[in-house]
Structure formats: C-alpha cells, structure tokens
Amino acid sequence: MIRTEEMILNVGPQHPSTHGVFRLVVKIDGEIITEAKPVIGYLHRGTEKLAEDLQYTQIIPYTDRMDYLSSMTNNYILCHAVETMMGIEIPERADFLRVIAMELNRIASHLVAWGTYILDLGATSPFIYAFRDREMIINMLNELSGARLTFNYMRVGGVKWDAPEGWIEKVGSFVPYLRGQLIGYHQLVSGNEIFLDRVKGVGKYTKEEAIQYSLSGPNLRSTGVKWDLRKDEPYSIYNRFNFDVPTSEDGDCLARYHLRLQEIEESLKILEQAVEQFPGEGPIMAKVPKIIKAPKGEAFVRIESPRGEIGCYIYSDGKKEPYRLKFRRPSFYNLQILPKLLKGENIANMIAILGAVDIVLGEVDG
C-alpha cells in the first residue's frame, strides 16, 4: 500500500520569485497546492506610526520607500492629501511637472512588472530589454529630481525642482522611441506559444470576486470593470488629457499582462499631450507657509498608482504633524485574493499568478 502525504513548503522569504521578502507557506500534494498562506511583514517599517512624529514635508521621503517602483505617485498622494486639507491651489507648471513625472514613473513601474513577469516564467532576455528602457526613464527622473528611485520630488504646494533645460523635449522624444520598443516587446513575448501556455486561463477570477476582494488597478480592470481614478475622479490636471482606460473581460494572467502594456501606451498618450501643452514659464510652487499645518479635521484622497488605488487618510488636530496618517496601499489589498487563487494550482502556476498580481513588498508591508 502506497501512502502519500501532504508536504509543507516554505516559499520565501528569500526566494527568487517572490519579488522581495514575501513568504508563502504552501501545502502541496505532489506539485498541486492544497492550501496557501501568505506571511507578510518582513519589510514592515511602520511608516504610518513614524509619520505621527514628523512634519508633513518630512514624511515625503518615507512615502518614497513604500512603493519604491513608483515613488512619484506616492509623493503625490501625501502632498495631494495635505493640499486638499489646506485648500492650496497648485500652479499650472507644477501640475504639469507632476503629471509628467507620475506618468513616466508609471511606465517605469509597468516595465519592471513586464520584465520581471517574463523572468518569473523563465525567459531571461526580455527582463534586460525592459530594464534598458526603464533606465532611460530613471535617468530622466534623475535629471529632474536628483535621485534614481526615491525621488522625494514633490512638496506640498508644488514640486521641488524645475525641469532642467531641454528636459521636456527629451521626454517628448522618448515617447515615439518607447512606442517602437513596445512593438518589439509584443513580437518577442506576446505571441510565444510557451508563454501563452503558461498564462492563458491561469489565475482566473470574476468581476464580483475582484470587487469583493477590493482589488484595484490592472488586477480589477482585467475582469472588465472600467475603473480608473484618473478618469472617474480626475485629480491634478488629468481631465485635460485624452486617453483610454484599457480593460479586458478574461480576468486571467494574460489579460493582466496585456493591460499593463496597454497602459504604457495610454501613459505615452498623456505624456505626448502634456509635453505639447507644457506652459513655457510660471512658478513651480504655490504660496505656502514656511511651516505647514493642516487645519483641524480629516481628509481622504485617492489616486491611481500603477498598482491600483492608493489612498491617504489624514486626521489632523491642527499641529504641524498629523495626528493619524493611514495609507491605503494597493499591493496589500491586491494580495488578499492570492490564497483563493492558488488553491488547486501547481507550483509553476503559483509563480505565474503571484507575478501577475504585481506586488511591491515595500508597499505590502508599509
């Protein structure tokens, strides 16, 4: 009589494909997962608690380190929340710089998501092509802010630095370049039979499940929900630009893969228009007091980060530090559906599903 038993396998916290220090305790029967339990918190730094002792400007570098692949949107969410509370009007030029920086950062983030996803599936080269193009964005943002990853670029009331000479033109010429590259990306990966075999119909969930699990970003839109805060609750100057919100009805990993590439194209559209309409001159900072004090009260704002809906709640008692600060971090919410998706899948699919969720551990753990 042959006896089989289930085996507990610890995936992570140090594992090539968990995108950081994410641990997954899976029970496997052969290669089939019968139960999966995510363990998070290895990168918890207590951003929200630390923020309670910091002035608003001092919190901005901490937001850089949450979703470190998309620091610009994180910078923006905090500034946006404080500005909303104080009722500050942002100069036009600063708004343009913010939007350009955020969209560039969104493209960079999606390029990382694309490259690492293919890397998770076993192909090494596309990763490096994606990073080549991302490097150009990083260099541009470096010229703008002086940092490559943790930009610390935005301030309450505007941005810290003006665009250097010729920078806007550089962004303008990057748009057609990346469009050309995207065609190459599709040729290299999108039609590959092995790739399609790995992702088509894998990690499927429905519209209702996505909403129940509070998913957002490409994870939500892959089920056919057309929900993008840039369109549905326009913030900054997004209502001036013409762009689409790509959706898909399939709800599988392939749909999420395609959505990210399509979102890069939409971001390029926004960049193109923003570069065209960029105001020749003007201030980059609104008139704000030296020491920023949010008025007594509370505010919640939300914007669309590359990973989904990022929200910021501030409760202020009128001091220069927030009384309570809370971030709604999309990766954390997107991860919730993982145990449900992994049940009954094999180990190879586990990697494909986890990769398609596109988490950043800095954001999951806060």
Binding site: L119, G122, A123, T124, I128, Y129, R132, V189, A348, I351
Partner: protein
C-alpha cells in the same frame, strides 16, 4: 589504429596508449566545457545587451571559467546534517560518469573514434539515461523539499522525452540500416539526414533540449520555481560535477546531432573535401551549440504538466508518423 589495438592481446603498451588517448579526450572535453561556458556567457551577454566576462584573462575573459572552477575547488564542502550521506556523495558521480562514457562511441572524424561498436546510437541513449539517476538521487539525498521536487521533475521529464528521442531517430536508422554511428555518417554522403528526415530532426532536437535540461525545458532546476532544483543543497566541487555533467552532455549531444543529422565530418559539397574533416565537424558542432545558447536566451520555461503533455501527445505521435512515412517511402521507392 584503435581497432587493431582492441584486437591485440592486452599488455602494458596498449594500456598506456588507451590511457593516453583517454586523457587526450578528457582534455578536449574539458577544453570545450571551459570555453563552451565562456561562449555561452558571451553570447547570452551580447544578446542581452551586456558584455559578459571581460576581466579575467584579457578583454575576452578567457580565463574566467578557470577562475570560477578554482573558486569552486576552494569552497567549503557542505553536506547537510539531515542528508543521506553516502547517496549525497555518490549522486554527482553517477550524474557525471555516464556523460563521459557516451563520448567513447562518438566518431569525431573518420579516424578519431574510441569504440566503433555496432549499436553506437543505442549505447548513447541508454547510457545517457543513467544521468537522471544521479539527479534523482541528488534530489532525494539532499533531504530538501525543493531538491526533491526537482529530482521528481527530472525523472518525469526523462521518461517523457527519452521515448520521442529514440523514436525520432528510428527514421534515420531505417534509412541507414544500421545503429552504427560511422555507418550513419557514410550514409549521408549524398544528402544529410536533416534534409531527408526533417520531421525526425525537429522532434529529435526538441527532445534533446529536454534531455539536456536546458531552457525551455530546464524544469528540474527551474530557478524561479524551485530555486535551484535538485542541486540546491550542493556546493563547491560536488555542485561543479553536476554542472560539468550538464556541459559535457551539451558537448556530446551537439556531437551526436552533428553525426546523425548534419553529416558528421563530411564536407557539404564534395569539392570542399580538401578541408580536413575535423574542421567540418567543429563548424557544424559549433552551430548546434550556438542554437542551444540562442534558444536559452529567447524562450520562457515550459510548465511541468504541459511538458509531459507535449512529450506524449505531440512529439511521440509525430515521431511515430515519421517512422511510418519513412518506412513507406523506403519500401515504395528504394
């Protein structure tokens, strides 16, 4: 020459010659492994917008692999406490030894061959199958869950791919009428088997990648899923033995494809006969190695269950159809 020695009565002289020839082959193979690894890293590098090794041994990194091997020799040899010690030690040897044994029948030129045995092809396939035991044992003996999964995958993959591999060369055997590798090369005087047996070649090539455990069939050691698969607990020179076996197999399999499908040492057109056979062999061989490296740079990895499906439901029927087709054509037209 070797044939005569084999016929002669045993003595110290021919023992010495055999030993010397073995050492020569070892040097050739190790030379290939050294520069094959370097070539792989260089080619991968250029395909991936990098330079590859370029520091140790001049700007082409000619001594990089040597330095790497020396480093591996100096590394601490770790045997996990919970591992099955004897099996753990013997597994790399079991994986490695057959990879050298298969080279004995390989006709590199019409003169340079060690054992011209009647069932050369069968011998190759049978002996190379032994390596899987090494992987399975290594995976089992490590007492590591990832290693166990890797070892399991290795044996499952071997079963699924060895059969299409054998079936796909049956067409060639039908045309040659022999399992002898020399006869196969001679039979390609008027046309390489890659042209006469295109279906067989494609099936054989795909199955050979699986046999070599290379991308897109590198499931036993798939880094992104199983971290390193069956050799996850191995370090230092034991690990190097697994890697060595892998690259010696790359050498052997490329040589086999050259012999069976690309006409071995024969020149493609007869007026080019003045160029020595060894050069032709090396050229064809290099092309095959390059294609393997190229595939590694391009393709993502198969999923374990899809791979079995592909082996049994796609490759095997195609290979069987190829045998039938070859037999039909042969009996009707020849």
């Amino acid at each position: 020459m070797i044939e005569e020695l084999l016929q002669s009565s045993p003595g110290w002289a021919n023992f010495g010659i055999f030993f010397l020839l073995g050492a020569v082959l070892l040097l050739i193979v190790l030379g290939f492994v050294t520069y094959g690894i370097l070539a792989e890293r260089k080619v991968l590098g250029y395909m991936q917008l990098r330079h590859g090794p370029n520091q140790v041994g001049g700007k082409w990194g000619l001594l990089q692999t040597v330095a790497d091997v020396l480093k591996l020799l100096l590394k601490e040899d770790i045997i996990p406490k919970a591992a099955d010690r004897p099996l753990f030690i013997i597994a790399p040897v079991i994986a490695f030894a057959p990879s050298f044994m298969v080279l004995a029948t390989m006709p590199f030129t019409d003169k340079f061959q060690f054992a011209d045995i009647g069932v050369g092809l069968l011998y190759y396939i049978a002996v190379s199958g032994l390596t899987t035991f090494g992987m399975l044992l290594g995976g089992w003996a490590s007492n590591n869950k990832y290693a166990l999964l890797g070892g399991m995958r290795a044996s499952a993959q071997m079963i699924s791919y060895e059969i299409p591999l054998v079936m796909s060369v049956l067409g060639v055997i039908l045309l040659t009428g022999s399992l002898n590798l020399n006869d196969m090369v001679e039979a390609q005087k008027h046309g390489w088997f890659i042209i006469l047996q295109p279906i067989g070649f494609v099936v054989f090539f795909i199955a050979s990648i699986a046999e070599l455990n290379r991308t897109p069939f590198d499931l036993p050691e798939s880094e992104n899923e199983l971290v390193a698969g069956y050799h996850v607990e191995y370090s230092g020179f034991r690990w190097a033995f697994f890697m060595l076996a892998e690259y010696v197999y790359l050498f052997a399999m490329s040589a086999l494809i050259t012999v069976v499908f690309l006409g071995g040492w024969l020149a493609p057109i007869s007026f080019l006969d003045f160029i020595p056979g060894a050069v032709w062999f090396a050229l064809k061989f290099s092309v095959v190695v390059f294609v393997y490296i190229w595939l590694r740079a391009t393709l993502p990895r198969f999923r374990a269950d899809k791979l079995m499906e592909f082996g049994w439901k796609v490759l095997l029927p195609i290979a069987l159809a190829n045998i039938f087709l070859t037999a039909l054509i042969k009996s009707l037209f020849f």
